[in-house]
Symmetry: D2
Subunit: 363 residues, 4 copies
């Protein structure tokens, strides 16, 4: 009996106890929404400093639950729960992880452990990594870009960034075939929920409505994450393991944009192949054959219908040596909470799609 | 006394008589709005088959005018007006131009005369050009990409496409310096007004709201228009003259996207220069030094504030050999009606900015 | 053993077979979405003339199902399915009901059978009712306004209108106490999905975005439906039975508005009570004590978070003799498909909330 | 020669010097936009504490001007400018007015001087008025509700609230005829710009997008302002003069709502007349016959097309004794900066519409 099978069996008897730190924010709320309806999970802690004492429907009016936010240290979360989700601000996760060395399973939604080295982190985030020694324990949790079973039994997961998820999924099939060379151009477009629950100039309705703009041009912190992921897929066949020093054989130019919508990441990747080829669509279909959340199609895909889901839509178009791949995800779903729960499912040997069955609304 | 000076003097005495064909649509309405407030213009005809007999505020509730739509043939328009604006559907302008050989000045907002040859037209629009012999009389009217005075005295203007305007302005300074090589990637994003006044699946509010998608991937009709314009700027120093056979020294990949907003075209162009250089921003500032509607800046630009104006915002960012240029225009303004009036002003030797002084709203 | 209990037991063994007529539209798609995930239902027919032959994800990209639309007459639907949902245009349901006299259970989402008499129908819809003899068989299916168990065993259900649902739920507690007198003012605001899947001038994105307006002022067809419902609640203690001739003891003025959003009905009802009273909130809490989908609160409620759910939020504020009650629902959920499935559940003696557990997204 | 004529003549020679305090906010920016293009005005000061030293296009990217924000006390503004506009937060205007007793003309856009007495102010705003002695000098500046010429020569203007403007204009014709009795119900809907430039929970894009809600139910500070205005129109024939103790002969119930749009106030007023009458539309047309910014029509009006204008659209519908009046304005235009400039024009004897000619965009 494999470890995964054993885990599964165990969970047939009792639910997985889950804690969410940073439960008052948008990603935290989405985690609660999914976990509260997850057939094999039980939320034992919704931790939030700012919301402490309030019922969770104060911050998340969509949730009907008697649960109250608590202000407890990470160590308490680790004692109470088998799985601790960190939906904290970038930089706060490092401290939390350090405070709970005995935590069984930690799934971190921040950017703190996504890059393989403290050096890359410093370049991307513009500050020193506070605990480089903790990085190697983390696996990069984009299940579609890992080998089958590879995430099973993991204890520390770095959940990918929203833009990074959309971009890496759009390009991984080409990376795996060694077809990414020269300059690879990726344009990402995000909804306002990606900026979190705290109001700011960029998410002020009068400024966002009817507007569209690029931001952090040539300096977005997800660019090195995307490059690292694709480099690993190309050289190792998996993005799951932090492998310092893996360099991409191409130059990535990623530009982030903000659009007047609430949820979603749309990615447009433009690639010049070494040679013209007619099998690009097949390459994508083959690569994602067993990916239950990914739908590949020729022609247009769209954001509509993905909010609240863990789904990925990928559209492929080819003309001679040029390929334009578009991908669409919900930044709160596959780009954050959905993927985190997918990771939990895989780590514990549960059904990968458990708790992630919502089909989305259209319109 | 130059011809332009003569024209100007003449117009100090009486206003320019203008006719708008297709006046019931969005571009037609925007032309009427600008022309009705233009200090040297007089609208003598608002032609619309579908709205004939109604006052113009029926279709354009923002306009206070006693003018009524009329259903008259193009020849009548040409008799009545010194300048005939064609705000017709793609394909209808050819017929209209053919029917009014004696028209003094025709400014066509459709795609019918934008490409230099019937062959290019057929490739881009997927149908035969009905009057190739009429093409050479047209000048391509993007004033910022023409030589000073070059449009003065022209009698037939092909007004550029909205995406084409945004993209060509974003890249012309590099084209002029011979810096466009290899693959040039352009992503355009449009508001829904670009699809016109007729409701359709793509502009249905429930489908557009909260959505974002690419469309006509690798097959948009503005791609060859952009390539042609930049090729001319590179080889001839102007985009104004239809010069068949001018080929770009680069490969353009243009992807159009639709966003949930009403007005605006945002363009993100990603270019790999032959060599790293630090003077890109200066190149742009120099190129547009005398362009009164263009603002160049380092860093982010945005759509907000441009609706109703003829302005162009351009943002430049450089990293080694890579340049990301973003541009923003109002698709109805600089991308259509505003540019058409700017062209009229130049053709007639009026102040280039006459009637185009609206500063935009923010927010 | 009651009939309802018998039904329930039967369904423990096999799922309820369901057919959706008009399955290509928005309400039809929402019905499919709910029914495909309903633990005790099976969709055996998705009928659509315009989409016949296509898989349902063509019209409803959110749905993953191999089901194909079929173009079959209502009689075939009635043979195949135990429950036939009619998501047809107003006026088409009459014909469908006439064509399937042997249908076991029919739940009609149109306005065809919502009013008690052909006379009221003619006044409200401006045309003759084609089959007045069919009306009496229908019960008006707003479960919260029916007596416990009253809908169990029904065979014909007229599903309430979206505005009518929001307004009647906002005022029923006052109606039941005999507190509605004089003029009762109701303002309803709807999202664009209420206009259906077919693009029109009112749902054209450029026209709807940034806009707000009233429409069908003093002539909306839901006004008599609301008045009838409240009159029955006041005089009969239930809205479920078509009781011709029941007149309200008040004058209703209902104004419909359209807002730039996709889903949702927000209602603001302003009432002048006969006397000042301090127990209005308690009246509401008491009235809806057992209503599982209704949440009553003091102070503001909002649309956000309700999309895709069958929930109702009600906010109550009082000042002297004046009461302002606001309610919020999803027009596609509690205002259409959600309520239809709730009705099915009650008719068949299933758990009222079966298949309606989605908690909504926030944001 | 009347004083107004004298003023006009004087201004033919030199422009009116204007100062804007609070110039960094939305209302301040809109004032700058209008005044910079006003043919008879000159902006001599844009005062802002937070933006001091920056050019005005930093806060208002739509404006092309070399003007810089300055941080100067109100007394300096009064010395430099003939007209001082106060676009300050509620409560700050009192202090500013106190600090510049010698100011020639002050136009205050806050709520500080809109109510006739300190008692009413305390009730509406929940705090003590800091300078009741200053109130009587102010005239209430809603030109359409003042007598011809009444505002000419005024030195202190309280510019009406945005909701108050929309509501008072919708009901004044009935008030003037003595037709408002019993309960009068007004529902107002606002865009997010009304909350100002500072981001907050209510204007956070993810929370506002797709949402609609009432707020400050039965406690909005504009309710007494509307009641006061209509009471004065009914009893005095003008709203311009602060007349303490004028009580309305009706009870107003005003409910404010927030909608997912940037600009606009839509008002729906529902009135029960003493008797049925068929001349309501004529009453409105007569009342506003000479109001250059008001358009009265039977049937629907809308917000679209009003952004940036000083226009008012009023729609009238009648059924028996019930009247539903809808009105639409731009909250930043007629609801704030536009009306303030209209007031300046009238005070100085300029053309009422000077600088207010922008016709709006559609779509």
């Amino acid at each position: 009996m494999s470890s995964a099978e054993a885990t599964t069996k165990r969970h047939l008897q009792r639910p997985v106890s889950c804690a969410v730190l940073g439960a008052g924010g948008y990603a935290g709320g989405e985690l609660l929404r999914i976990l509260l309806a997850h057939p094999q999970a039980e939320v034992v802690l919704a931790a939030s400093r700012s919301q402490a004492g309030k019922t969770i429907d104060t911050a998340h009016p969509n949730l009907d639950s008697n649960l109250r936010f608590e202000d407890v240290p990470p160590s308490v979360a680790a004692e109470r729960a088998e799985v601790v989700f960190l939906a904290l601000s970038h930089g706060e996760s490092v401290a939390a992880v350090r405070e709970m060395p005995k935590a069984k399973i930690v799934i971190d939604l921040s950017g703190d452990f996504r890059l393989a080295t403290a050096e890359e982190y410093a370049l991307a985030y513009g500050k020193k990594h506070e605990a480089p020694e903790l990085i190697p324990a983390f696996r990069y949790g984009c299940p579609e870009l890992a080998r089958p079973g590879e995430l099973g039994g993991a204890t520390r997961i770095a959940n990918p960034g929203c833009f990074a998820t959309g971009a890496a999924l759009a390009l991984a099939p080409l990376a795996a075939k060694g077809l990414l060379r020269g300059t690879v151009v990726v344009n990402g477009v995000t909804g306002a929920s990606g900026s979190g629950v705290t109001p700011s100039a960029g998410t002020h309705f009068p400024a966002r409505d009817g507007n569209f703009k690029a931001y952090k041009v040539l300096s977005h912190q997800h660019e090195p994450e995307i490059a690292q992921t694709l480099a690993r897929v190309a050289s190792k066949g998996t993005a799951a393991l932090h492998a310092p020093g893996v360099k991409p054989g191409f130059e990535l130019v990623f530009t982030a944009h903000s659009a007047p919508l609430t949820r979603g990441i749309h990615t447009t990747a433009t690639v010049e192949l070494p040679d013209a080829r007619s099998d690009v669509l097949e390459i994508y279909r083959g690569y994602f054959e067993k990916a239950r959340f990914v739908k590949v199609r020729e022609g247009p895909i769209e954001l509509k219908g993905l909010a609240g889901t863990n789904k990925v839509s990928i559209g492929v178009a080819t003309r001679g040596r040029h390929v334009v791949v578009t991908s669409a995800i919900d930044n709160m779903g596959k780009g954050a909470a959905g993927q985190a729960v997918q990771n939990m499912n895989l780590v514990l040997g549960l059904d990968e799609a458990a708790g992630l069955g919502f089909s989305g609304l259209y319109p």
